[in-house]
Each structure stands twice: as structure tokens, then as C-alpha cells.
Symmetry: C2
Subunit: 370 residues, 2 copies
Amino acid sequence: MFGFEVLHKDAATHARRGVLHTPHGDVPTPVFMPVGTAGAVKAMPGEALEALGARIILANTYHLFLRPGHERIERLGGLHRFMAWRGALLTDSGGYQVFSHRDLCRIREEGVEFRSHIDGSRNFISPETAMDIQRSLGSDIAMVFDDCTPYPCSFADAEASMERSMRWAARCRRRWDAAGDRSRGLFGIVQGGVYPELRARSAQALAAIGFSGTAVGGLSVGEPKELMGSIVESTLPLLPWDRPRYLMGVGTPEDIVRAVAMGVDMFDCVLPTRNARNGCLFTSQGRVLIKNAAYAEDQGPLDPACSCSTCRRFSRAYLRHLFLAGEHLSAFYNTVHNLSFYLDMMRKIRESIELDNFCNWLNQIGIERR
Amino acid sequence: MFGFEVLHKDAATHARRGVLHTPHGDVPTPVFMPVGTAGAVKAMPGEALEALGARIILANTYHLFLRPGHERIERLGGLHRFMAWRGALLTDSGGYQVFSHRDLCRIREEGVEFRSHIDGSRNFISPETAMDIQRSLGSDIAMVFDDCTPYPCSFADAEASMERSMRWAARCRRRWDAAGDRSRGLFGIVQGGVYPELRARSAQALAAIGFSGTAVGGLSVGEPKELMGSIVESTLPLLPWDRPRYLMGVGTPEDIVRAVAMGVDMFDCVLPTRNARNGCLFTSQGRVLIKNAAYAEDQGPLDPACSCSTCRRFSRAYLRHLFLAGEHLSAFYNTVHNLSFYLDMMRKIRESIELDNFCNWLNQIGIERR
């Protein structure tokens, strides 16, 4: 049975140290989930992910629905088996991707019609089919199908969009419950744009329906950073305390640390993997753009404080060379490092909460540098 | 000190089981050398190469000369250290690449002027600078700078080209010896196009100069397979028996097995790595084009007879999906398998020579299928 426990609450902030119980193992929180869009974390072999201690990753329903198809994956034994991933899997509902091209989709109360970004074919996803798809994939945590409100957006439009999301959330809940499987979790998603009042109403509606966890969605879509921070800060206290809280699509190391202090338990973001492929690397000394000429003959490791296989083995000069030569291995070695950086950071965050010194650690690490 | 020993001669063919002694370890022969063009075997992490038991790889002087530059690599401690490779390294001389765009180069007796394929800059390589570059890289085996005769080519042109290569070989020998380092090997390269008489004169000239090993070059450049086979067959007996013989740029599994039977000890080819990236996979049951619809729901491993990490972990259906989705991991998992196939094949070849049943094995494996 899916579950969550808060093991320890930080003394000085709202940060919590917890654990998610899933059919594919326990996941310590706060946790960062690497993004495996198409059934593979880009440029990161599963074995390397395991070696870094990743216990949960995210997969994108939208991409897998279009290719290779959820029914095919179900016939092949489900997504865990398909991609040979032993840990837990969270699937988004596809809503975010469907709505990310508003011009390519038609929203009705029933659901959304959209065109495939691969072959232009017409497709339809409703709250009910989104549940069926995620059940076929066999994810440990499914997300409700929501209308992801764009930014900017008027109050009236954000309100209509949020209310549709809440009606859809109730339909998702009914469809999910009809299958009678309580071993997997279903999370609601708070919408409401940048309007605290709408966010509060959304949180209330979700709590009334009842979910295994609550996500805050529709952020990191172009709004100013401060606005995102204040929305998270005002929304978090309204979410059930005994359920995991997940801030979707966030973010930079700085964003994550701040959100943990507000009481967020789960994160996902393409930043470490995408930046790795673009040669932007996270280090204890700040971000490194590996193509810079300054690294041409730099024999030092990418991050002297890091013990990942990339930092143990290669110099900045070599990583720069691989990037400039367009070698596949550049993406691989860089991704190993960036994910190692993120997962290491989460490990340190968890330890510091356990030791009641998250606040001190926060001040010490100076992640704002550069 | 660089050296070579023939440990065992097959009873029924010219195949030999030997060992190369290099400053970076012993290398059992016959050996296939994965190609690490730009200081990295494409899509193949060094750790994975080591795990497959690779003891020697090839690096391309031409590419490293242009980017990042041999002098930079020397300042960074040499190529082994730069790419964190503990095994042996063979560097080609750059000749093949320089001449592969004949329209972009001007050949003089002194050397070759050519334009960079990266930035169009003018460059010059002579037999002497080719030796200096390879010394800077610190390779365990260097190759003479030769004029790689194209195909087709008239007898007169092939003769002039071969004779130039032999004069250059003598200059390479002198330059190499001037440095007084006998720990590394220098190989001569037989040229002469498709003319056995020219090949014989070339082999004789190289033997007179004296090299640590002999390569057969200028093949696999477009000539019919049978012609390649007959040239190798007639040339091999003319090469010093107690020195390693290296067939450059060859080839398919079938080509390699046949050449081993003729007495070749060393091979290199981009085929396993390039084909891997193109989704063409070598298996015990023949070649598999992984994009084929037949594999869409194939739950079996790529090659049931293979124990590589790709075959242990993933289905053909998943490998097909990764290829079609354009995932980086497709290149990685496919390359692991193809190199595993090649290195495994070489291991079996060596074992069968030791057991005097290379001939039987040759008949059994049926590598001609498909």
C-alpha cells in the first residue's frame, strides 16, 4: 500500500524529513526525481542512476502515450520492466505537455484533443483516459489530469481553468478508485495561476476529494521567481501535512533548497540533465560552462568536492574537449555529474534536517554564488 | 621495451596466437582495437570498455592534431592521462584522413598541405612532424606517415604513391630513432594498391628499413572484397613472421576471421561503433536492424548468446524504442553490445587457436549467415 511518513520536522524551518512507501521500494524525502521523458533519463544509463542512489524517477505520460504507446508498454510487462528500472516511478498525467502547445490543442469539458508533435496525428486525452494510461504504464505514483494554467493569465481565466482542473481531479479520483488498486498513489495538483485566493480554493477542493499526495503545478512557466516563491509559500500551509507535497518542474538548486524550507518533499526538473547536455555544470563552486576557454588546459576535476565517476576520472580540459568535439560521451559524463550533484545535495538536505541544522547548512553552502 | 611474441601457431591455418608487450600492459593477439577517433571511443565510456576487457584502442592523430592539438595534450600529460585510459594506445599517422579528401590537400615530397575539416585552416604534416605529433600524444604504437593510395588507381600512379610512402617510411624511422625511445613501437605500412607486385616491393622495402610491426594499408577503400582478400593473402607471407601484422580499417566479423586465418594479428574498424549508432547490431544470429517493426514487441534480448550489460538488461523492444526516440542511450547501449560482440569474437578466436581448432570453429560459427 502506498504511504508517506514524516520522520522528523526541522526545528527552525518547515522542512520535513520523510519517507515514501511505494510498491518499488521506500524513497527518502525530500527527494529529487530525475526526468526520464521517453522511458529513459536522457544520456544516463539505468545502472549509473542506481549507482548514484536514485530511488525514484519520473516518466512522461504524454511521450510514452505517443511512442511507443501505453498499450504496447502494458503488453511488454509495464514501464518498470520495459525500461528495466527497479526503483519507483512517478508518471505525470500528460496535461502539462498537452497544454504546452495551446495552439495545437482544443480543450472541452470532456477532455483535450491535440496533435502529436511526432507525426501530427489527432489524439484525445480525458481525465479518465489519463488514469487508464498511467495504470497501463504501472507507475507507483500517478498524477491527476489537469489544465495547466499559462502565465500570464487573467484572474477570470485562471479561475475557470482551476475550476475545470478541480472537476477533472474528481473524475480522476473516481476512475482511479474504480480499479480498486490501493498499492499505488494518486496525487492531486493545485492550480490557480499566480492568484493566492485561487490557489487556496484549489487546495481546499483537492483536500475535500482526498489524494495520496498534493502537487503544486502551473509554476516555473515564465512567472518571476519571487512570484513563484510567494505562491509556494502561501500554498504549502494549506496542503495536508501528513501527505507528501510535490513542487512540479522545479528547479535550480537554490529553488529546491528554498522550497524544502517551506515544507516541499518532492521535486522534478529537466535542468540537471538538459544543462549537462548543453555543457552547463553544477559544482560546489558555482556553475561551470565547460566550453569556456579558461578550462582548455585545466587539469583539475570539474568539482573538487564531488566524488562522482566523472570527477574522479576526468579533467575539465578533457570534458571541454569532448563537448567541443560533439562527442556522445560529453552528454553522458556531464549528466552523471549533474545528477550526482543534485542527488548529493538532496542527501545533504535530508541529513541536515535529521540533525536539526538545515538552517545552518542553508547559510553555509552559499549556493547563491555566481 | 615494445615487443611481440608468437605464443602458438594454429595447426591448420596461418593463424597465430601472440602477445604485444607495451608500456601500458600486454595485449593478447589476434586483437581488435576499438576506434577512439577524438580521444574517446564514440558513445562508449572508458569504464565500460575496461569492463569488456579492451586492452588497446586506436586514436586518430589527424583529429587530435586539429582539436585539441597534440601540444596541448602533451602539456596535459599525454593522451593516456588526458582521456584517462590505462590500457595501450595505437595512433594512426593521420595519413589516411589527410588523403581521404584528396581535393583538400596538396602532396609534395616534403609532406602534405591540407585544410582542416573543422575550420578550413591550412595545415602541414610531414613524415617528421607525424612522428613528433605521435610522440607528443605518447601512444604505445605509432604508425609511419604514408600516402594512402586511392582506389581505383593506375599501376603507374600506385607505383609512384607506394614509392613515396617508402621514402617517407625511411624518414619516419630516422626521426623516430633520433628520439632514442625504444619503449614504444613504430609500424611500417605496406602500400601498392591492388597490385601484388607493388605490394611485394613495398613489403621488401619496409623489411629493409626495419619496424616493430607491419601494417597492410590502403585496403577497404572501395575495392571489391575478393580483391582485398587476395591482396592480404599474397602480402602476408612477405611480412616478417616474428613481428605483429596489422590489417588497417578492417572490418566485418567475416573479414576479420578470414584475415586471422591468413596470419593477421591486429585489426581496427569503426564498424561496430558506427553501426551501433545507426541501429545495426551484430549478433550470433546475424545482423539485427533494431528499427525493424518485427522487434516492436520482442521481449527477448538482442542476442541470447551474449552476456553484455545491454543483453542482460534490455529487450529488443526497448532498444528499438530508444533508437526511434533518438535517445542518447540508444547509441550507448548499442555500442556496448557491438563492441562486446567484437571483443568476445576475438576472445573465442584466440582460444580456438590455442586449442588448435580455429578451423573447426570457423566452420561452426556460420558467420556468413544473413
